[in-house]
Amino acid sequence: MTRMAATRDGYGQALLDLADNPKVVVLEADLGKSTKSLHFRKAHPERTVSCGIGEQNMLLVGAGLASAGYIPFASTFAIFTERAFEQMRNGVARPNLPVHLCGSHGGTHTGTDGSSAQSIEDLAVFRTLPNVVVMHPCDDVSTRALTMQLPALGQPSYMRTARNKTPVLYDGRENEIQIGKGIVLQDGHDVGIIACGVLVSEAIKAAEQLASQGISACVVDMHTLKPIDGDLIDKLVAQCGALVTAEDHNIIGGLGGAVAEHLVSNTPAPLERVGVQDRFGESGQSDEMLEVMQISAPYIAAAAQRAINRK
C-alpha cells in the first residue's frame, strides 16, 4: 500500500529539523496552520515572526533579516505570494538576499476553495526573477530533503507545496534528492515524460497505461524548475526523441515553458505540454479538478502518443 502524504507536511517537518541552526527564522502571514510552519512556531516562538495578513511586509522583513545573516523561511498560500511579487523582485531577488518563500496550496489540486485560491501562475512569475531558485516537489520526502538544502543555497528561493495528499515516492531515498537535478523515476525509450508536483504520480500512471500499449515511457520528476536540469533534458531527447511535460499550472511559463525554452536553444524535439489551458479553475475535489483541467494520467498518455506521432 503506497503511503499518502502532503508536501506541505514535508516542509513543516524540515523547518523543525532545521531549527538546530540558530540563524533559521520563520515568518508567517496568518497561515502557519496551513503551510505547516506552525510546528516551528510552537517549538521556537522566539524565532517566529507573525506578520499578520500582510505578505508584502513579510517578504521585506525577511530581506532585512537576511541582510543581517539570518535565514528566513516565509510561507503563505501560493496565490498570496503573488501579491508580494514586486517585494520579492526588488527587495529580495535584486539584492540576492537568501529569503526562502514557500507557497502552499498551489495549483487547481487545492480543490474546493475554488479559483481564487488555485495559483496556476506562481511558478511562471517567480521563474522570471534573476537569482531565484524555483521548486515544486512531488512528495513529502523530497520536499523535506529540498527544504533542508536551502540554508546552504545562499540565494533566494520559491517552493510550491500542495494542500492535498499524494503518493509518496521517495521513502528511504532522501539522499537522491538534490536541488537542480531531475530524477529519472522510470526508464524508457519511446517518449520522455517530465512532470513536477502532484502530476508526477499521474505521469507514472500514464507510463503504465502506455506500457500496456507497448510504448516505453521514461518518467522524470523535475522538482526544480529553475535552474532547469538541461543535461537531463538533452539526455531524454537523445534517448526518446519526443517529450511531454505535465504540471498543475498554466501551460504558459511553468515547467512546459522551461523545457520548451531549453529545447529551442539546444536540441529541438517534439514537445507536448500538459497543463492548465490558460484558464482559471473552479470549486471541485482534487481528483475532479485533474479531470476538469485535463491534466490526469489519461491526458498525459494521450499527449505522449501525440508527441511520438510528431517524431
Partner: protein, 282 residues
Amino acid sequence: MAGEHMSVRIEEIEEMARKCRVEIVKMVYRAQAGHPGGSLSEIDLLAALYATRMRVRPDDPKWADRDRFILSKGHASPGMYAILAEMGFISHEDLKSYRVLGGVCQGHVDMKWCPGVDFSAGSLGMGLSFGMGCAIAAKLDKSDRRAFVMIGDGEMQEGSVWEAAMAAAHHELGNLKVILDRNRIQNDDFCEAQMRMFDIPAKWRSFGWNVKEIDGHNMTEVMEGLDFLEAEENSNGPSILIAHTIKGGGISYMENNPSFHGAAPNEEQFKLAMIELGEAEA
C-alpha cells in the same frame, strides 16, 4: 555614547549640510537627471543623523554591529551619496558616477553597488518593512544597534507602509527609528492634491508609535528630534520623527516647486544655485 554628539557643534552640521547641498546640485546637473527636491529636503536631517548618531565605520562599511540606515525614498539618492562622501564611505570623485554606467552611485541607492548603503531602494513603500527586519535581527542578536529608516510623505500612500507600521508596533520594536521627510510634494503635484493626508501624527499614534514633530531645517530642533528617537523612555516601541521640510530647500527656485521633484537645473539655474549656496560670486 550618551552626550557624545554634543561635541559636534550645530554650525559644523549646518556647514556639512551646505557642502552636501552643493554636491546634490552638481550631481543632478552633471547627470541632467535625478531628484534634487527630495534630496534637498532631507539633507539637514541626514547630516545631523550621520554626524552625531549613526554608529558606523566608514572604513568597514559591512561591520556587523553597525546601525542601519535605510533610505526608503531611494530616489533621493544624491542626498545619501553626498553624506556618504562626507563621512568617507565613498570619495567625492565617486559622486561623479551618479547615474553613469558602472558607477557606484546608481540612480537609486543600491546596496550591491555602493558602500554604506544598507538597502536597495527605488520602489516606494519597502524600506520600513526592511528596517523592521533589521530591527528584529538586532534583537535576536541581543545587540543594541538601531535601524533608522527615512520615508517620504507621498510614500505613505503605499499600503505596505501601514502593514509595516502595524507590525512594528505589535512587535514593540523600540530599536526601529523612522524619520518622515514631510516635504509636501510628490512626483506629479503637491501631496494634498494627489491624496489628502489628513492628520499624519494621529495616524501614527493610532498605530501605536511614539511621535514627535519638528522643523526639519532648524538644526536645533533636528537635534532635539534625534534625541527623541534615541530617548530611553521611547524604547518601548517604534518611534517616528515627523520632520516638516521644504522640497528643494536651500535653492530659491526649487523650493516648493513640484517641477524639481525629478528634474535637473539648466546651466543658468546651476550657476544661480552655486551663488545661493555660497560657492560662487554673484
